[in-house]
C-alpha cells in the first residue's frame, strides 16, 4: 500500500516536472519541483528564520487560545443561564469576518509579533469556547448525579467528570480553532509584517519569484499540517474511548 502511494506521488511529481520542462505552462504560473527544491537550497536560512518566527507566533497564540477558550467555555457551560445568554452571542460573533478587524489590530498592537498573536488568539478563541461550552452543557445529568453521590467536590466534578466527558466536543473545537490560529498568523504576516513565512511569500510574490511563492505556500501548508498532526495526539489521548464506542456499534 505504501509502495503504491509512493509510486503515485512520484508519478505526480514527474508529471509536474514534465509540464514545466516541456514549457506547457509559463514559468510565471507554475514552478517545477526541481525549481522549488533549488529555491529552498539557495535560501534555506531565510526560510528557517521565517519558519521559526511563524512557529513561535503560532505556538503562543495556540497556547493562549486553547486555555482561554476552554476556560471560558467551561465557565459558560456550567451555568445554564450563562450558556443560554453567551451561547447565541458567541455564535453570532463567529460570523464576523475577523479579517476586517485586522487593520485595527495593527493600530492597537503595531505590525510586529504582538498583533499577529493577538489576532490569531481572537480567531481561535471563539470556536474553542463555543464547542467547549456545548460539550460541557450536554453531559448527561446522570454523570453529575454520580459525581455528587460519590462525594465529589465541585472542582472534582468539573475536572474529573465533566471535562473528560466533554473532550470529543472540545477537541473538535480545538481542531477548528487551531486551523484558524494558523491561518490567522500567516495571513496577518502576509498583510503587514517584518518576518515570518507569510511575509516571505508576500515578498516573493511582489518580485514574481514564482518558485519561492510555491515553496513558501508549501511550507505554510506544512505548518498547518504539523499543527493538525500535533492535535491528533491530543485527540487520541483524550478521546480514544469515543472512537472505540462508535466503532463498536
Amino acid at each position: 500500500m505504501t509502495v503504491r502511494r509512493a509510486l503515485t506521488i512520484l508519478m505526480v511529481l514527474g508529471l509536474w516536472e514534465a509540464v514545466r520542462r516541456f514549457d506547457l505552462v509559463r514559468p510565471l504560473l507554475l514552478a517545477s519541483p526541481t525549481e522549488i527544491a533549488s529555491a529552498l537550497v539557495k535560501s534555506w536560512l531565510d526560510y528557517v528564520i521565517a519558519l521559526r518566527l511563524t512557529a513561535i507566533e503560532i505556538a503562543i497564540a495556540l497556547a493562549c487560545a486553547w486555555t482561554l477558550g476552554i476556560a471560558a467555555g467551561t465557565i459558560a457551560g456550567l451555568r445554564p443561564f450563562l450558556s443560554a445568554t453567551a451561547g447565541p452571542l458567541l455564535s453570532s460573533l463567529f460570523a464576523i469576518p475577523l479579517i476586517s478587524w485586522y487593520p485595527l489590530f495593527m493600530v492597537w498592537f503595531g505590525i510586529g509579533i504582538t498583533s499577529k498573536i493577538a489576532y490569531a488568539i481572537v480567531s481561535g478563541f471563539l470556536p474553542i469556547a463555543i464547542n467547549t461550552m456545548n460539550g460541557i452543557r450536554t453531559v448527561d445529568d446522570q454523570y453529575l448525579l454520580l459525581g455528587k453521590a460519590i462525594g465529589c467536590s465541585r472542582r472534582q466534578i468539573i475536572f474529573r467528570i465533566l471535562l473528560p466527558m466533554a473532550m470529543p466536543s472540545i477537541v473538535s473545537g480545538l481542531r477548528i480553532g487551531t486551523a484558524l490560529v494558523v491561518i490567522g498568523v500567516i495571513v496577518a504576516e502576509m498583510l503587514s509584517s517584518l518576518g515570518g513565512i507569510g511575509y516571505l511569500i508576500s515578498y516573493y510574490r511582489s518580485i514574481y519569484a514564482t518558485e519561492h511563492v510555491y515553496l513558501g505556500i508549501l511550507l505554510a501548508l506544512g505548518c498547518a499540517f504539523a499543527a493538525n498532526w500535533g492535535l491528533g495526539f491530543v485527540e487520541r489521548r483524550f478521546t480514544h474511548w469515543r472512537v472505540l464506542q462508535i466503532e463498536e456499534r
Partner: protein, 254 residues
Amino acid sequence: MKSLVLFTQLAFVALVIGLWAIGSWIGAFDPAILPPPANVAIALEGLLRNGDFLAYSLDTITRVVAAFVIGAPIALAAGFVMGENVGVGRSLSTIFNMVLSVPQSIFLPLFVLLFGLGFTQKLIFGITHVFFVVAINAMAAVRQVPHGQVTLARSFGAGRLRVYRSIYLPAMAPQVMTGLRLGIIFDIIGILLAEMYASRTGLGVLLLRWGESYTVDKLMAASVLISAATIAINETMRIWELRVGRWRKVLENR
C-alpha cells in the same frame, strides 16, 4: 425566561459600550488608538454619506455577490451529483474534505500571481471559498435523505419529480441552507482578504489604508458596519434554516 436571556444579552452589549464611553471620557484610552464611541458614530454617519465609500462598498458587494451567484449553483450541482453517486462521491469527498481542511486563504498570493490584481482574481478566489463548503453540505444533504421514505413513495406510484419535490427537497433543505450560509460567510472573508492584500478598490483596501494611517474613527466605523452587516446576513439565513428545518424540530421534540 427567554425575555430575561434577551435582556441580559442587550444589557451586556450596552455595558460594553457604556464602559467604552466612560473610559474615553475619563481619558483612560488614547484617542488616537481607541476613539470615543461618539466619534465612531459620527464617522459612521459620514461614511454612509460619502460617495467614495459607497462606491468602494459596492465594489466589494458586487464581488461577493458575483462569486456567490456563480459558485453556489455549480457547487450545489456538484454536491448533488456526489451525493447521489456513492462511488464518485466518496473519492471526491475525501479530496473536498482535504481542501476544506487546508487553509484556503494561504493560497491568496498564488492567486494574485496567477490571475493578477483585477476583478477576475478576486472573483475566482471568492468562488473557491464558496464552492467547497456549499458542495460538501449539499452532498451531506443528499446523503441524509431517508431512503426508506423514497421507496415507500415509489411503491405508491410517485413519479420522479414528485419524489424530488415532496421528499428530497424538505429533507435536504436545512443542510443545503447551512452550506449556503457558510458559503456566503466564507465568501465575504475571502473577498475582504483579497482586497486588503492586493487591490485598488473595495472595502478591504480602505480598511488597510485607514489602519496604516491611523484613521481610527473611520476604521472602527467601517469595521462595525461590516460586522453588523455580516451578523445580519448570518442571522437571517439562520432563521430561514430553522424555518425550513422545522420538521426536524418536531421530530426531535417527540
